[in-house]
């Protein structure tokens, strides 16, 4: 199928996009296998930490504390990074951030940049803006490279190409790297990427990254990765430009003792990911001579101002919620129409769009709570989903058909008399739909009322979504409360 645009302003609604993706059997198989693998690894390594819940609670408190004092910590970070020879830039929105990066890259004389995987730069569609300015961006994370060469978009926050299997990746590399003899073992594919990118690492002098954490106390930056492409980008070039959401700051270096333990286990199911780089500003003779950090708002301050939505910003982008989500498992990430997929995407995207777009996303969840259970910083995603549903309902207004219907139902629940009447009415109304069972199934169960049950096989309108895949047992002839009345007489 064609690549889905990951722009919430133009994306299909979740149910529509999901409907298309549900037909992609190969993609769904890839997603299922990959998420099951990560989940199994995560589960095993979380189980070996007997202080996991205490770590989560501390992480939650640290992140909530940062958000409660965000201005102070950003200013502290700015002060310390500046002292250490770096430069801080502030961007209110995607356009400003794009313009800052383009101008810094031009200042560095760059016609090409190498990039570390960064969802923040995906969020602001930076590559397109660079391309327009005549600057080509090379993605250096293996998964991002697969997507870039395959003209595809990320479907996962940590493993962006998890919807692709090795055969598909091989086809992309064969074609785009001109390697007709390429083998299909994962090792062959990784080796091809190593060779393809090494030349870029050695040649390109400007790099663009995101960051996992900023450290206010020192002005330091922490980047967490596996492949070494991050180290290449943040060590070899002359200029490094990091685009970072304002919420990513931590108060102190010491807070990493909590975050690093949680992040690797949650994200990739490792005790620790292969490489963590932490550095402060510019160090003569070691790493870039110019270090820029672009602090991006892009509606984050709006999220911050919403008391119930604020906890969304605690997120450390581990994607454990995606892997645990039974909805994501079915559709993969593209259905969410945003670079942020899965449960966290379902709450983050509409808020970053100031609730003007992505309004179907808060409903893209069965509220099963698996996301909250695995979240290393304890974001109560189901609570935020419910809160955002309320925001959507308010925006649709009282005259929306669903609002009218649900208000009518609500009036029934406010009066026992009306509720009883509705039960009787429902029984009457269903006579056209309900059918008595002709055969008794499961005779061995020996249920006395079994043969009396009636089933509905078709419902009209919106409710038809139910009966397409499920029958509905009809309303029995006597409600519980009628039985109770009879019994009490």
């Amino acid at each position: 199928m064609s690549v889905m645009e990951l722009d919430p302003r133009t994306a299909l609604s979740f149910p529509k996009a999901a409907k298309m993706l549900l037909k992609e059997t190969e993609l769904r198989g890839n997603v299922r296998r990959a998420t099951e693998t990560i989940q199994a690894k995560r589960r095993k390594l979380v189980a070996e930490k007997d202080d996991w819940q205490e770590l989560r609670e501390s992480a939650r408190q640290i992140r909530a504390h940062v958000l409660a004092h965000l201005g102070a910590y950003l200013e502290e970070f700015e002060r310390n990074l500046t002292r250490a020879g770096g430069t801080v830039h502030w961007a209110r929105n995607a356009e400003e951030a794009q313009a800052i990066v383009v101008s810094l890259a031009k200042e560095a004389g760059a016609q090409e940049v190498i990039k570390i995987k960064s969802m923040t730069t995906e969020e602001i569609h930076l590559n397109g803006a660079l391309e327009e300015a005549g600057i080509h961006a090379y993605e250096t994370d293996l998964a991002e490279l697969i997507l870039q060469l395959g003209h595809d978009t990320p479907s996962h926050i940590v493993v962006p190409a998890l919807h692709k299997n090795r055969a598909q990746i091989r086809e992309i590399f064969k074609r785009e790297m001109n390697l007709p003899e390429l083998g299909s073992a994962p090792e062959d594919l990784a080796e091809a990427a190593r060779r393809f990118l090494r030349e870029k690492f050695l040649r390109v002098h400007t790099a663009v990254s995101g960051a996992n954490f900023l450290i206010a106390e020192t002005g330091g930056i922490c980047i967490v990765e596996s492949e070494g492409n991050g180290r290449m980008c943040l060590t070899l070039p002359d200029t490094l430009i990091a685009v970072v959401g304002i919420e990513k700051v931590l108060p102190r270096f010491g807070d990493l003792e909590v975050m690093l333990q949680l992040l690797a286990r949650s994200a990739t199911g490792e005790r620790m990911n292969p490489y963590n780089s932490i550095w402060t500003g510019v160090r003569p003779g070691d790493g870039p001579r110019k270090m820029h950090v672009v602090l991006l708002d892009n509606a984050r301050t709006e999220v911050l101002a919403d008391k119930e939505g604020r906890q969304t910003l605690q997120c450390i982008r581990c994607a454990a919620c995606l892997n645990a989500c039974p909805v994501y498992r079915q559709t993969g990430g593209h259905a969410y129409g945003s670079v942020y997929a899965g449960p966290i995407g379902a709450i983050l995207t509409p808020q970053l769009m100031e609730m003007k777009h992505g309004q179907s996303l808060p409903y893209a969840s069965s509220l099963c709570g698996a996301c909250y259970e695995v979240c290393p910083v304890k974001i109560n995603i189901p609570e935020v989903l419910i809160h955002l549903r309320n925001e959507v309902v308010k925006r649709h207004g009282p005259l929306a058909p669903e609002a009218i219907a649900l208000r009518m139902v609500a009036t029934l629940f406010r009066s026992e008399r009306r509720f009883r009447a509705a039960q009787r009415l429902g029984r009457m109304a269903q006579t056209l739909l309900a059918r008595r069972e002709l055969k008794i199934v499961g005779q061995n169960v020996g249920q006395a009322d079994w043969g009396d049950s009636q089933w509905i096989h078709w419902l009209p309108g919106m409710l038809g979504g139910w009966t397409r895949s499920r029958d509905l047992e009809a309303i029995p002839s006597e409600s519980f409360r009628e039985w109770w009345d009879r019994r009490s007489k």
């Binding site: 102070a72 250490a84 502030w90 594919l189 290449m232 550095w279 070691d286």
Partner: protein, 223 residues
């Protein structure tokens, strides 16, 4: 640049009107953050060393436990086995550690102290040898903190084989202990290495060695 400055003011103003608190409460509030996770070690030092070895093995790294006096002969042997030909070393690496490596008559090993080589020049080295600042047993992590015997970050990145010396006294059990030791050097460029470069981007299969060194050997040295 006035537009950029105004973005700063506007973002900070939005933050402050979003019901956040000022700098004056930050320290006191920070002190109240609960930290009931495990902070102290549980294992003896001997068990900690065993755990580090076990974890490094899981990453496919080789581990050798030696006395200080044996480093030179071990390194010579390992470099020979790995087929090393050009090795870059940080300027502050103890010379005696490599005393046996370049001297043997049949040896073609060239030992070159780092001299601000650019990336392309570094690419001509197949090996690198360094010391380390801290090692964390629980996660099999080795930390380089840009000390004179560890060198700058690029030298442990471009060559394909990293031979790393860990002193027993620098080995701790937990991440918490490790990060607390690093507090003294927190503004130095730090690299936490947990096994060789790897990726799981293809079908979640861990593949060793994408861009960083593919081979890691660790010499754990008795004090």
């Amino acid at each position: 640049m006035s537009a950029v400055i105004s973005a700063r003011e506007e973002i900070l103003a939005c933050i402050s009107s979003a019901g956040t608190k000022g700098a004056e409460d930050a320290a006191a509030d920070y002190a109240r953050i609960e930290r009931s996770y495990r902070q102290a070690a549980r294992l003896s030092h001997a068990a900690t060393l065993d755990l580090l070895e076990e974890r490094l093995h899981e990453y496919g790294a080789r581990v050798f436990r030696v006395a200080e006096s044996e480093i030179a002969s071990l390194c010579a042997r390992l470099l020979r086995e790995r087929g090393a030909r050009r090795i870059v070393v940080p300027a502050g690496l103890p010379e005696k550690w490599l005393a046996g490596a370049g001297s043997a008559a049949e040896s073609t090993l060239e030992i070159v102290p780092d001299a601000d080589f650019d990336a392309a020049a570094l690419d001509s080295f197949d090996s690198v040898m360094t010391a380390s600042t801290v090692a964390i047993a629980e996660t099999g992590t080795i930390v380089l903190a840009s000390a004179p015997d560890e060198g700058r970050r690029a030298i442990t990145l471009v060559p394909d084989y990293h031979l790393c010396v860990v002193r027993e006294g620098d080995v701790v059990e937990t991440v918490v202990e490790g990060m607390r030791r690093l507090d003294a050097v927190k503004e130095m460029p730090l690299t936490l290495i947990s096994g060789p470069s790897a990726t799981a981007d293809i079908e979640m299969t861990r593949i060793k060695g994408v861009h960083g060194p593919r081979f890691l050997d660790v010499a754990v040295v008795r004090a």
